[in-house]
């Protein structure tokens, strides 16, 4: 159809032209098809008065929001699987790091400490315990060691220089 003819047809198109354009439709009787339940229109004005005076909020068209529920479920799953993963893998990841740190710390710390400082830190009690421990473990007393050294003419200064 030419646009100008189309325009004319639209300009003129009203119900009286319906028979030409839609003969089947024009034969169908026009009537009110949708009824409301009995007394619906008698009750509605009163119901509305009750609602506005009770300051009731507008009815919410509540239908389950499946999109939102799905998104919330996905986020929860990701969150929990993340927590589960990191919780269960903490030991294997952290352990070597920790022991390595300790080793490094020991070697670094000990290398920075002077021997004389270290000796000062050891009190008499520690030394005594240590010598007692040696005696206990080997069954040789300090006196026996001294006797041995004297009987073999070994100089104590030589030993102290050698060790």
């Amino acid at each position: 159809m030419h646009p100008r003819n189309m325009k004319n047809e639209l300009e003129d198109f009203e119900d009286e032209n319906l028979e030409k354009l839609a003969p089947s439709l024009s034969k169908i009787e026009k009537k009110e098809l949708f009824a409301a339940p009995e007394n619906y229109f008698e009750k509605l004005p009163g119901q509305m008065q009750d609602k506005i005076h009770a300051n009731v909020k507008a009815p919410v068209y509540w239908v389950p929001n499946y999109k939102l529920a799905f998104a919330a479920l996905s986020v929860t799953l990701i969150l929990f699987s993340g927590i589960y993963y990191f919780t269960n893998n903490t030991g294997t990841i952290a352990e070597p790091q920790t022991s390595e740190l300790i080793q490094n710390y020991d070697s670094e710390y000990l290398s920075s400490v002077d021997e004389s400082e270290l000796a000062e830190q050891l009190d008499d009690e520690v030394l005594e315990n240590t010598s007692l421990q040696i005696e206990k473990n080997n069954g040789i007393s300090n006196e026996e060691i001294e006797d041995y050294l004297l009987s073999n003419n070994i100089d104590l200064t030589t030993i102290s220089n050698e060790f």
Partner: protein, 182 residues
């Protein structure tokens, strides 16, 4: 009972001591027309009742701000139309239902509707109307059943008169085709 004009109802509504009374008269005056307008779009009575009550609450909340730049009845129809379209949109998006399926559901509920008063040919016509896109369906119903003037429809739907005429013309042709084929 004397029926007040829209102008008189608005004056009474603006007075605090007659506001409730005016509102009651307004509901009584327009409830059937708005109910039918919404029902033709939503088909189901319960859905229509929910939307209609929401419309009347919005009217109560906003009528004091109505500037009378348009007629009261076009303003009421505009609220009812927007609420109906919004309801259909929510129904579609919340159930992941494509547009065609919503119209199919409406068509099925029409067959089971106890309050539908039509015969077989009327049912066929309603099914034909439900094959139209939402806006075209509105245009067809408002022109064919409610005898709206294109100028008033233009104010309700926010569409030019020319576009409305074209839309109605196309809708009539589609419906005729459906009725003949089925």
């Amino acid at each position: 009972m004397e029926e007040y004009s829209d102008k008189e109802l608005l004056i009474k509504f603006r007075e605090e001591n007659t506001r409730s009374y005016a509102y009651n008269l307004l509901v009584k005056k327009y409830q059937k027309r708005l109910y039918t307008h919404i029902r033709r779009m939503l088909i189901d009575h319960d859905d229509t009742n929910d939307v209609l009550q929401n419309v009347w609450i919005k009217v109560w909340n906003n009528l004091l701000g109505f500037k009378e730049e348009s007629q009261l009845f076009t303003w009421l129809y505009r609220i009812a139309t927007n609420e109906s379209l919004s309801f259909l949109k929510k129904k579609r998006t919340r159930f992941f239902i494509p547009m065609v399926d919503v119209e199919y559901q409406l068509s099925k509920s029409l067959e089971d509707d106890n309050y539908f008063r039509g015969d077989e040919i009327q049912l066929k016509l309603q099914k034909a109307i439900l094959t139209l896109p939402e806006k075209q369906r509105l245009v067809f119903n408002m022109k064919y059943y409610e005898n709206f003037k294109y100028e008033d429809m233009s104010k309700v739907l926010g569409t030019s008169v020319g576009a409305l005429k074209a839309s109605y013309h196309i809708a009539v042709k589609k419906i005729e085709e459906f009725v003949v084929k089925n």
